[in-house]
Structure formats: C-alpha cells, structure tokens
Amino acid sequence: MQVNENKEFQPLIVAFCCNWCSYAGADLSGTNRLNYPTNVKIIRVPCSCRVNPMFILRAFQKGADGVILCGCHPGDCHYTSGNYFTRRRMTLLFSMLDFLGIERDRTRVEWVSAAEGAKFAATMNEFTEAVKKLGPNRRLEDLRCRKQ
C-alpha cells in the first residue's frame, strides 16, 4: 500500500495466475502492449486450484488492497478439473470475507484464456479501478484489534 498525501491512492493488487491460461494471457497482453497499471503484481501458480485461501488472506494481511485469481475458463482447465474446485473454494471464501464485513470488491475470480490478452488487461484495469475506489484495505488487516 502506497499512500501519499498529495498523490492518488495506489492500491497494491496481487494477481494469482495459472500458468497455462491466465499467465499466458498476461504475457499476451504484454506482447500486444496492452497497458494495465503497475499496481498489479502477478504470482505464477501451475493452476488456479493451487491457490490456497491462506495465500489470499496472507496477501491482504501483509498489505494487499485487492487480490484477483485468474484461471482457465471452466471446462478448459489444463488439468481438467482444477478450476472447478477453485470456483467452489473461492465462492465460499469470498462469501465468508463478505460475511466478516470485508468489502466485496477487493476479491475477484476471472477466467482468462491464453488467447485473451485484451481481456486480461481490461480486467486488471477494471479491478484496479474498483479497488482504488475502495481505498486502502484496513478492515481485513485489522479484523482483530491488536492485543493491548
């Protein structure tokens, strides 16, 4: 999180991308020079189903303002079924975070294929904008008051 009084709030976005579709999609937006903000930092995972909810919580707790998870489209998982598990896991995790009063727009799952460089860039632009609007992530970082 980088906040400067005079500067616009710049959120830190962590993007988990599966190696086969979304990471390749991110590469393609690079190859096609499709801009998205520097706020987005990508972590490569073999499949979206490798992403443990703990990673997402960890990112938030360490100062991320938004976390997005990208994988192959349902039905197109390189490993056949990984993203179906991801879908259930993340649906429940996001629902729980919402239940705890964490802003919904800080989390997102997007299916981006290796051919969708434009979608990747557009998604990252949108997501960064949405998180920017929310301001810094304080709630999840501070869900539990520090002990006295």
């Binding site: 909810p53 703990m54 919580l57 960890r58 707790q61 360490k62 349902p74 039905g75 079924s81 179906y84 598990f85 879908r87 259930r88 896991r89 993340m90 649906t91 429940l92 995790l93 996001f94 629902s95 729980m96 975070l97 919402d98 239940f99 705890l100 009063g101 964490i102 802003e103 919904r104 727009d105 989390t107 997102r108 799952v109 709630r139 999840l140 970082e141 501070d142 869900l143 539990r144 008051c145 520090r146």
Partner: protein, 323 residues
C-alpha cells in the same frame, strides 16, 4: 438415564464386548463434567456421571482410543454420532473398534446461563417440565428450562442417531431448526455493521486454542498452525498473520466437514460465537451446492472436494443485493 447407561456399560464390559468405556466424570463443580475412560465396573460406580450438564462430545477422543487394543464403548448423543460418522468417513477412527450406544438427549444445560441469573453454588439440577429446579448450597432456586439451555441445543438440528450399534430409548428425527437465523440476521446487516460485529467479537480472542482442541473435525496429526512448512505456523515471534486470520482459516479448514455440533462456541472462554462462521459455510453450501449435512453418512463427497460444471461463479458474492 444415568442408571440405564451405567448398567449398559457394566454389562458390555462384563460380557467382553468392550474392554473400555468412554464416559464422563465430575470435575471440581457439579456442572463441570469432563470425558473420562473407565476400564472396570468399580471405576464406573465411583465416577461415572451422565446428567443435564453432560454435553461434552466424546467422538474426538475416539481418534486415539479406537487405535488401541480392544473395543471401546462410547455413549453418543444424536449430535455426537454425526461427528463420529464424519471421522469414520475421513478414516480418522477405526469404527470397528468402537461400540456405539446411542443415547437420547433433550438438550443440555449451560451453567454459565444459570450463573448469569445470579444463582451460585450449584450442587445439582432437576428438570420438572419446563421448570428447572436448581439445588445450591444456599437452597433451591428455579428458572425456566429454556433459559438455562445451552445455545447449541436451542438450535438442535437432529434428534436422530446416524450411527450406532445399540440404542437406549427411542430414536428421534431430523428436526427443522432456526439455526441459520443469526447468520441471516448478520447477512442482512450492512458490510460495516458486520465488520464492527466481528471485529468486536474476534478481538476478544485470547488464542487459547480451546475451539480447535475441542473440535471433532480438527483432528489433524499435526495442525497447520503447528506446521513449519505451512507458512502460518504459530510461533512466538510470528507476525500477526496467523493471529488475525486464525478463525477464518480454521473455519475454512472445516468447511464442508463441520457437523455443526457447536462445541467451539460452547467451550470458548470469551463467548465468541464461533459457530456462526461454520454455519455461514454450511448455509452457503446448502444454498449454492445443494443440502449437505456433514456426518450424515460415510460415503458422500465433501462439497469442497466435489464440483459440477454448472456451479455458480464466485461473482455471485458480488452480485448479491447491494447495500
């Protein structure tokens, strides 16, 4: 009831069906009942207790006990049988080494609730219809049973035993409960209100680990919070990550496996309604992936280890009514 149970225990020990019994014995106070192992009729006669304060679920003890030599007898209330089934399904207990006697339960009492009425020095209780007679060292007091009933029993979901070798009394039915009411109430709050609620609750946590230790789903050989490779190890010098996220991670770990036995909230010394986190998952699973009751059987696939091609997208969370 206590007599029936004790005689059953002695009978099964005597005929060699089992060589141990897991039951309960009194602690320091009358309402302080804890699980205990009995190996002889004498021990049973001396200490065995089963009364309205006996709520502890003994299934978790069976993880270790069922791996020992010989069969062990366990008396299980309906809710406890769900826990045992779930453990059986996850290969955590050796079901063949357990002799289960199902016992009925019409709800257990919460001593804290009685004490909250200003009643102290409790030596025993007696139910008389809807009225609870409480014997104290200062004399007899009364209060409505419902007001002394433990929270988890107030929202009881089933009076049915899903696994047993023998029953004492008649078996009950799965009942409709209002257990999701509080979850729903929270869901209907604004995000800020929910946040304030949980921040207030979770800040009370002293990380005593009682919730984890009592949970019949938390039976890992080594808890992730003790696993140096997990990245969330609970170290003295650890940063606040594990501290902050403990309850979310714990709830997620038991999602789809939690039978909603309510033990976590019951044992919490800070009275944090931890069961609401579990119920939220259960409610979501029921509404998104179809009704699922963990522990109801030993063969079904856990919802998080399963999928359909037409599952909803995670964006369903974002699409819910805007506050």
């Amino acid at each position: 009831m206590q007599e029936a149970i004790i005689s059953k225990a002695k009978q099964l020990l005597a005929d060699g069906t089992v060589n141990r019994v897991i039951g309960w014995k009194k602690g320091e106070f009358a309402y302080d009942i804890t699980p205990a192992i009995f190996e002889s009729a004498e021990e049973i006669d001396a200490d065995f207790v089963y009364d309205d304060f006996t709520s502890a679920n003994v299934s978790k003890y069976l993880v270790k006990e069922s791996k020992k030599e010989g069969k062990i007898l366990a008396f299980l209330k309906p809710c406890d049988t769900y826990s045992l089934n779930q453990l059986t399904k996850e290969h955590r207990v050796n079901r063949e080494n357990i002799y289960v006697v199902g016992i009925p339960s019409d709800g257990k009492l919460d001593a804290e609730k009685i004490k909250a009425k200003g009643i102290t020095g409790i030596t025993g209780v007696e139910k008389d219809g809807d009225t609870l007679k409480i014997n104290t060292i200062y004399g007899e007091e009364t209060m409505p049973v419902a007001e002394a009933m433990s929270n988890k029993c107030l929202s009881c979901k089933s009076r049915k035993h899903v696994t047993y070798d023998e029953l004492i009394g008649e078996d009950g039915e799965v009942i409709t409960s209002d257990r999701f009411d509080m979850v729903e109430k929270l869901e209907n709050m604004t995000s800020q209100e929910r946040y304030d609620f949980w921040r207030n609750e979770l800040s009370k946590c002293i990380r005593c680990n009682a919730c984890r230790n009592v949970c019949p789903a938390c039976t890992c050989e080594n808890c992730v919070f003790n696993n140096p490779d997990s990245g969330v190890e609970n170290k003295a010098a650890a940063d606040s990550f594990e501290e902050n996220m403990f309850h979310i991670i714990r709830a997620f770990h038991v999602a789809g496996r939690c039978t909603d036995c309510g033990e976590c909230s019951r044992v919490c010394p800070q009275n944090i309604p931890l069961h609401l986190l579990n119920r939220k998952f259960i409610k979501d699973i029921n509404s998104l992936y179809g009704e699922y009751q963990a522990g109801a059987d030993t063969t079904s696939k856990a919802p998080l280890n399963d999928y359909t091609q037409d599952d909803c997208e995670a964006s369903i969370v974002h699409e819910r009514g805007v506050e």
